[in-house]
Symmetry: C2
Subunit: 226 residues, 2 copies
DNA sequence: TGTACATCAGTGAACGCGCGTTCACTGATGTAC
DNA sequence: TGTACATCAGTGAACGCGCGTTCACTGATGTAC
C-alpha cells in the first residue's frame, strides 16, 4: 500500500548526517534537527515504558502521554509500537556484537575459567543495561515475530559461531564425541541468555551474582574443554 | 467484587466426581455431565487455537467460533482467556512432575550418559506433545504473570531440585568449586527447556533431533559429573 | 539587520473498528410421583 | 409408563469501552535577498 518509505536511519553518521541527509518521516516530510530530537525522545520514552509493561500492553497513547506530545506525532516517525521497539532492539543488538571477539581467545588453557568469567560478567552487565528491550525482543522472537527473531539472531550470531568454532578441532571435526558443535553452541547461548535475563530473580532466592557468574562460566568452560 | 467462586476442578476425581459434586459454573449454576463436556471442548479448542496464535491474540470469539458456541458460553466456565490457558498449563504441568523421579538414579557412573540421553529424549517428547501450551505458559511467566510463573515453577521444581541434589555431596557441600548447586540447576533446566522448545527449529538448520538429544545430555552429564 | 516565504514540526478532535461482556431469554435434560 | 416441574445449558443481540489512526489545521524554524 504505502510506498514503504525509508525511515530515519539508526544514526550511524550522527545527528547532522551527510550532505544530502535524505532522512524522511513516514508522511514524506524531511526530518531536521528538531524532528530527530523528538524521534529520539520517543524512542527513549518507549524504552522506559517498556520497563513496566510488555509489548502488547504498550499503547501509543502511553508513550506520547509520557513524552508530552500528541499521538499524531508518534505516527510521524514510526508505523506502530513494535517498529519503534525494533529500532531499540537493533541499537542494543549492535552493542552485543563485540562479545564475539572475546571468543577468539583460547579458553582451554588454565586461564580459561577466568576468561570465561570475564565474558559472562560482561554479558550480564550488558543485559542489566538493556533488560527491558532485550527481554521484549526475545519474547517477540519466541512468539514468532520474524523481525525480532532476525535482530536477535544477528546480534547473537558471533556468539553462537564463536562457541561452535571452539567445539571443532583444526581439521573441522567435532572435538567431543556426541557433542554437535552447533547444537551445543545454541544450548550454551540459550543458557547464557537465560541466566542473564534471570539472575536478578535468582538473587531473590539467595544466589549471589558472583555465584551466577562463576557457575555459568564453569558450565560453559567445561562444555568447551570437555 | 465477584465472590471468587470455586470453578470446576482439574478433574482429579474423574468426570463423575464425588457424591456431592460441588462443581459450580462461574455464574453459580451447578455443572452436570453436559456442561463438563462443553467445558472440556472449550479447553481442547483453546489448546488447538493456541498452536497458531499467542496468548494476547487469542480472542474469546476465536475459540467459541471454533467450538461452535456463543461467546456467552465461554463465560459460563472461565473468567477470561488466560484463565482457561492456565488450566491447560496446570494439566500439562502435572505430567512433568514424573521427570523428577528420573533424577533419583545415579548419573555419575558409566551408564550415566545413557540415562541422561533417555531423560532428555523424554523431555523433548513431552514438549512435542504440549508445545503450544508450554510455550505460552513460559512466555506469560516471563512477561511477569505470577499465576503462570507459579505453575511453571511448581512443575519444574522436581527437576531443579533433582539437579541441585546431584551437585551436592553427602555432607551437603557443593561437589564442584565455583559451581553453586542451585544456580547450576537453574542453568541446566533453562538450557533443557530451551532446547526442548527450540529443537524443531534447529532441525531446520540441519541439526538432527538425535544430535540435540545427545549434545544436551552430554552437557548436563558433564556439568553434573564435573 | 529585517522581512517574506518555504518548509519542518506538532496537534486537537474525532471517527470507527473490534472485541469483551452481559442479560433476558429459549431449549435440553433429568427426576419425582 | 407418563406427566409436570426443577434445574442445567446455551444463546442472540446489543451495549460500550478503549484504542489506533487520520486529517486539516496552527505554530516554529530556517533561509534567501
Amino acid at each position: 500500500m504505502a510506498p514503504e518509505q525509508e525511515t530515519v536511519g539508526t544514526d550511524a553518521t550522527g545527528p547532522d548526517g551527510g550532505a544530502g541527509a535524505e532522512v524522511v518521516a513516514l508522511d514524506g516530510r524531511a526530518v531536521g534537527r528538531r524532528g530527530a530530537a523528538t524521534r529520539r525522545r520517543i524512542l527513549d520514552t518507549t524504552a522506559a515504558v517498556l520497563e513496566r509493561s510488555g509489548l502488547r500492553d504498550l499503547k501509543v497513547v502511553d508513550i506520547t502521554r509520557e513524552v508530552g506530545c500528541s499521538p499524531a506525532t508518534f505516527y510521524q516517525y514510526f508505523r506502530d509500537v513494535p517498529s519503534a521497539v525494533l529500532v531499540l532492539a537493533e541499537e542494543a543488538g549492535e552493542e552485543a556484537l563485540a562479545f564475539g571477539a572475546s571468543l577468539a581467545e583460547e579458553w582451554s588453557g588454565p586461564g580459561g575459567v577466568v576468561a570465561a568469567e570475564r565474558f559472562v560478567d560482561g554479558f550480564l552487565t550488558y543485559w542489566d543495561d538493556h533488560r527491558a528491550v532485550l527481554r521484549t525482543r526475545n519474547l517477540a522472537a519466541q512468539e514468532g515475530d520474524a523481525r525480532f527473531r532476525d535482530v536477535r539472531n544477528q546480534s547473537l550470531r558471533p556468539l553462537t559461531e564463536g562457541f561452535a568454532r571452539l567445539l571443532v578441532d583444526a581439521d573441522g571435526r567435532p572435538r567431543r564425541d556426541g557433542v554437535a558443535p552447533y547444537a551445543a553452541a545454541a544450548a550454551l547461548v540459550a543458557m547464557l541468555e537465560r541466566m542473564a535475563a534471570f539472575h536478578t530473580d535468582l538473587e531473590g532466592y539467595g544466589v549471589a551474582r558472583d555465584e551466577v557468574v562463576s557457575t555459568t562460566a564453569r558450565i560453559i568452560h567445561t562444555t568447551l574443554a570437555g
